[in-house]
Symmetry: none
Subunit: 540 residues, 2 copies
């Protein structure tokens, strides 16, 4: 086990940005993270510099158990964040040492545990079917046991605001039991999401005055006030905010991590992230949407593609002269951009930055960069997205710099045949005709589906000519249908993640036909591998 | 011209629900209303019972001029709402009677005019290039003239909060000029959307104390606090709220009308709509999304399809017994419903709840429910997900209850051919062989991609035999590749949303082959429609 406090931000352990995308966010209808997805999410959040990452509920969900096991086995190295396991207290009438679920929390090896407990008398009596005394004992015992085992413990007081309104003393007793056991943050949860900021802030103030405890806040968006409620709680003294990326969560969702951070940093002047991380908000938000396989919300505050887009109208020239009069903050602060002045400057700057990241020296390459910016804009207008497809972007940049050698092969044609036979069997067969190493090669293969068959046929054709071909595998494959509201036909975007056992790289393809889109992404994947092979050969 | 105050709600003219979907909402990227769309939007909003409908900017936008002309010609009969024209004050240095744009406001025949005016000194000087005195004269003259012509006038004080923070006296002078001219509401606009509730409420309180004016509020969502800011302003004394349907608007959007009304009615106990209208919120929200040609936001507070959806899991039985413990309001209040999502953790309780929701009586059907639970678990282990696919789940439940008649057609075989030709063109062609209405039918069609071609061929085959076939359209199509599925080959999950112009329904298909997965979802979609057709026939 490692540290229990986040690595330094200017506010240190004094203020917690606590992310629960992997647990509460996963409750959103339509999200199903695999353990591998979870590791990728955690890496992005850590890179952003959040303090705590709640990874899931080990013991309750097999995928979460797997996530913690793989994290503990070294698959997740955190620079900023501390990993948190979420779980329940011991069951009523069971000794804490013998509770299987509590055991799973320890087994997860997460240095911090957040325990959820009921704090509304009605839930204790009607849902849990126990009484306040036993509920408090469950909380106290479990916290104390986990602390004695070296864990830092936070308490999520479920349904706190409704419970406090109904029976304040009961709600406070639950908090006291946790602190008595050794919990050092009590998180007030608006589980049903019915609060409004004014009243919620009053309750936070009152609870802090009556208990002196360190208070955290967890809001749901059922009144469309989750972000405002979170901020109001901070203004009332809460120093621990629980959020989810893009507000993912059950029902109307949770408080959006990016809007909360945006507000804390730019409106309240609270440096809650490591220096310069704020400029990563937009990128990380979009990458997390990609992993969740959800379209980014274009109108999301701070990070949405339209968040600083102005329908020019009458004020275009005024906006151009005085953009600060028309934007609540400088969009660059959060890594976003204003979209009226589709400035080549902005595009140029970000491409140059990206180029540096990819190890391409673009200084003094004015014309090539300008042309690359135009090409990217042109492709993005057609549905391409390079945000998650660095390998395709690198190929595009190198092509503009005339640095790409000829591709490893060229296509003459391919054909895919799909048969659902009368006996119910479904077969896919693909034939490719390619030119490679000076020869024309024809190969046919079968596969589970059209893309698999095409991939297999291509491999068969190339393997005798490209020795590295059998090291490359398709690691992941994502499809998004982009429906255009202009009423024209849908376009399909495919992201392919490839691996050669040492590195992974992502490529993109877009087309009206899903198979052709996949083909384009596959070709980029192989071109990228060929490029690296040549680079190694040149260096060796 | 008709009345200038809204038809009776319990709060009468004392509180204004003012909708600007047709003007500020139309600023949203992607929305383009025709004049006919605008009339349809206005009718829906009036049916809901909002007090004021801002129809647009006559004189500035031809479509808006047309909208007001058609409304005045009798195409729009309003029962509750008053129609409002939006416009600017006279230009600097022009007499108000000679200002063309002011003339257009009168010509619109709208009984109420909302004038926008700058209230931030920096905007007056840098964007408008005039001085405070002339700006105030422009406001006073224009209001006075419109009032003398029998109009009721509201003032939208643009950039008010930023302006007030920068130079409070200047901002107040603008409000005073308007009231001096005869305006009876001054609307404080957070035009750049940078406010947070606490500070905004302080400003509203201060302005009201210093002026005694009737104050309105207009918020943008750039901090994700538009709804909270609107509510905070009302709690501080504002008695006129400007909102847009579904929060449509420029950048991150405006305060969502439905969330604001939901909060005012259910949280603050303010009867701002005519009796019983609140139950129309969900229907009207979805209908307005339809007219805007945007997918409804499933996670929208109060009215979203997921707003009261619970991933039941462990708590299904508790939710079943005590739904009020898990919902912040009774969803029926706003015309919505609770949904229990059948997930991997599904049990008997959640299926029974789901059955009730779908109108299926499962009482006393122990064996069928048990077998349905097993079937759902079995399918979900293979990658199916019924969370978002109610129509497929209903078919599954009915099959277990032996309530399904024979399917509308049966498949013999299909074949899809995909060709990437040497000239680069990609073509897809599908042939289906089906049995329908006692006949064997073979049909072939082309499409943009394999699924499109298959769908087209199936339609061609079925249309002569199933009269309802041409009402069914594919509304949305989602693809998810499930990679680390038990380590075997990837599996594809397809969700298809279909519509017959009245209802939407979602079906699911899963297979190793994406085309077959799509085929399964398409077949369920048609089976579901056939079921409804039979139900209507049986009921009629």
């Amino acid at each position: 086990m490692t540290r229990t406090s986040p690595a330094a931000t200017p506010l240190g352990d004094g203020f917690h940005v606590y992310d629960t995308t992997l647990r509460d966010g996963a409750q959103r209808e339509g999200i199903t993270y695999s353990a591998t997805d979870k590791l990728a999410v955690a890496r992005l959040l850590d890179g952003l510099g959040v303090g705590f990452i709640e990874g899931g509920w080990p013991g309750a969900l097999p995928k979460d158990t797997e996530f913690f096991a793989r994290a503990a086995a070294g698959e997740l190295e955190l620079r900023h964040a501390v990993l948190v396991a979420f779980g329940a207290t011991r069951k009523a009438g069971v000794a804490v040492q013998e509770d299987q679920q509590v055991r799973a929390l320890l087994d997860s090896q997460a240095p911090v545990v957040t325990l959820v407990a009921k704090s509304d008398r009605r839930h204790i009596e009607r849902a849990l079917r126990t009484d306040l005394a036993e509920n408090c004992a469950m909380v106290r015992d479990t916290v104390r046991y986990l602390v004695s085992e070296g864990r830092r413990v936070f308490l999520d007081a479920e349904h706190f605001f409704d419970g406090y309104a109904h029976d304040p003393d009961c709600a406070l007793r639950v908090l006291e039991s946790a602190v008595d056991g050794g919990a050092d943050v009590v998180v007030l949860c608006d589980t049903n999401g019915g609060q409004l900021p004014l009243k919620l802030a009053e309750t936070v103030t009152e609870v802090m005055a009556r208990t002196g405890f360190r208070v955290g806040i967890h809001c749901q968006d059922d009144t469309s006030c989750a972000v405002a409620n979170t901020i109001a709680a901070v203004q009332a003294g809460a120093s621990h905010v629980q959020c989810t990326a893009n507000g993912y969560g059950e029902r109307a969702g949770n408080a959006d991590l990016f809007a909360v951070i945006g507000n804390l940093v730019t409106k309240l002047g609270m440096p809650v992230l490591p220096t310069d991380s704020t400029a990563e908000l937009t990128r990380v938000s979009h990458a997390l949407a990609e992993i969740a396989n959800l379209a980014p919300d274009t109108h999301q505050a701070y990070v949405g593609a339209s968040a600083f887009a102005h329908k020019a109208g009458l004020h275009a020239s005024a906006i151009k002269v005085d953009p600060e009069l028309y934007n609540h903050i400088d969009p660059v602060t959060v890594g976003n951009g204003m979209r009226v002045l589709v400035t080549e400057m902005a595009g140029r700057a970000s491409l140059e930055l990206k180029g540096r990241e990819l190890g391409l020296d673009l200084t003094g390459q004015e014309a090539a960069v300008g042309s690359a910016v135009r090409r990217v804009k042109e492709l993005e207008a057609k549905g391409w997205s390079f945000e998650a497809a660095d390998a395709s972007l690198e190929l595009l940049l190198r092509a503009e710099l005339s640095e790409v050698d000829e591709p490893p092969f060229t296509l003459e044609s391919y054909r895919v045949l799909l048969d659902h036979r009368p006996d119910g069997e479904v077969v896919s067969e693909a034939t490719v005709k390619v030119h490679v190493g000076g020869e024309r090669v024809i190969a046919t293969a079968e596969g589970n589906g059209p893309v698999h068959a095409l991939d297999a046929a291509l491999r068969k054709a190339l393997l005798p000519h490209l020795s590295w071909m059998d090291t490359v595998e398709l690691a992941d494959y994502k499809v998004r249908i982009l429906t255009d509201h202009a009423g024209t036909d849908a376009v399909t975007r495919v992201l392919v993640e490839s691996t050669d056992g040492e590195r992974e790289w992502v490529t993109v393809g877009v087309h009206g036909n899903i198979v052709e889109a996949s083909w384009l992404a596959l070709c980029d994947a192989l071109a990228h591998k060929a490029l690296r092979v040549r680079q190694v050969a040149a260096g060796g």
